[in-house]
Symmetry: C2
Subunit: 248 residues, 2 copies
């Protein structure tokens, strides 16, 4: 990768300062430039490979951040939160807050495609995370500024009243798009009172099992399964949007 024009490098320095990194942070600027180059600006050298890595970087950072923030949450709750935190919709919102769009290189035609902007921002955001990860092969350039954003978002999601009843929420989703509703197959797999895996529930929709859940009661297992299925079903029923957290 060739050295960058000074104007672009100055732009990228402003960009990382907006994320919350120190102005003196020394980075591999051409890689950060790549992370902020859409395929319409360069069909070969663009953010796509970094985005693939960044998706995994984000998933790990979000998991660790959530486990630190909610040490008593169940795996099902954490997994549902993680799925929303790493959705395109949440990422696009974060990227917007951080002003990432100002630094993204696009073709003129892509610029006019405003509907595609949230997905591009989400993708570029993941690519930027990958570029920062590759500097150190750990998360020292990411977690200090990203954790507070993820924590705030996670609190908002948790406080959302619609999340208190995942079965109702899932049924509303499926009935808004189809004439059928999800069904549950629930079995008592261990006869021990209080065992958090006493019941196992599977949520089925359109002849497909979408997720499993566990609980010490039948109801808990089904709620857990519904929560785990929501985002995947949302993506399949509304492929061009990310799950609504109903918080914004």
């Amino acid at each position: 990768m060739a050295a960058l024009p000074p104007a672009r490098q100055y732009q990228l320095q402003r960009c990382v300062q907006k994320l919350g990194l120190s102005a003196s942070t020394s980075l591999h600027w051409p890689r950060l430039d790549l992370a902020l180059t859409h395929v319409s600006a360069d069909p070969i050298h663009n953010y796509e490979q970094l985005e693939l890595l960044g998706d995994a970087v984000l998933r790990l950072v979000a998991t660790e951040c959530l486990q630190d923030q909610f040490p008593d949450a169940t795996v099902g709750e954490l997994s549902a939160l993680r799925s929303i935190l790493t959705s395109d919709r949440t990422l696009a919102q974060l990227a917007e807050t951080l002003g990432l769009g100002n630094y993204l290189q696009l073709s003129e035609a892509a610029c006019k495609d405003t509907l595609g902007q949230p997905a591009r921002l989400a993708d570029a955001f993941e690519a930027v995370l990958a570029a920062l990860y590759l500097e150190t092969h750990n998360f020292s350039l990411i977690r200090p500024w990203l954790d507070p954003h993820l924590q705030r978002k996670a609190r908002e999601i948790q406080q959302d009243p619609a999340r208190q009843n995942p079965k109702v929420r899932l049924q509303e989703l499926t009935q808004a798009h189809t004439k059928t509703r999800p069904t549950y197959r629930t079995v008592e797999q261990r006869p021990i009172d209080g065992d958090p895996q006493r019941f196992l529930a599977e949520v089925w929709f359109q002849d497909i099992p979408w997720a499993k859940g566990y609980g010490s009661t039948k109801k808990q297992a089904e709620q857990d399964a519904a929560a785990a299925a929501y985002d995947t079903l949302y993506q399949h029923l509304m492929p061009d949007t990310a799950p609504s957290t109903r918080t914004s």
Copy 2:
């Protein structure tokens, strides 16, 4: 977490040596013990939280390892490979190779449930990766021994003749389980010869779009979409197994 009985600690030391770590590696042994404790052995202190983190650790390690191994592969190819590398089936095979089952604590009843063993091994394997990650917050205790396994597996998958034609393979999968076959909606989105995103294909099945693909030809875009959809569709049509790599 209390100190471990010396016999268990000795067991765990043997376990990490089998992974390929040095005998003198100093670890947080109670955490590794947790990673190798199934819920049937302890309903509260078991590998479930570590498994959630380990799933993300593995995804990141697999992505980086694949990008290093195949620097010229497309994002679609890498994504399809990653999905197989991180499937329960691949993980259970790796865990088997590494003898992880010998160190997994289970109830007697769970021991007799041999059908459940591959999933337990896959889960415990992810939990062990999380325990090793938490030692250093980087992958220095993981990649040196895991990369060669992932690379070997990735080569096997790549050489599998069935993967050469993802559309045929996807059609075989859907027709083995249903009476319908996937369809493709393909549009020319840019009129430039050779542009790797000239065509965009979506693969639809049972009224749901399962994946997108891109290519400089219509056929390439559809093959890319079929490859990207395979593992997700496999999981939905055969929820209790992981995608077959047809290599073992």
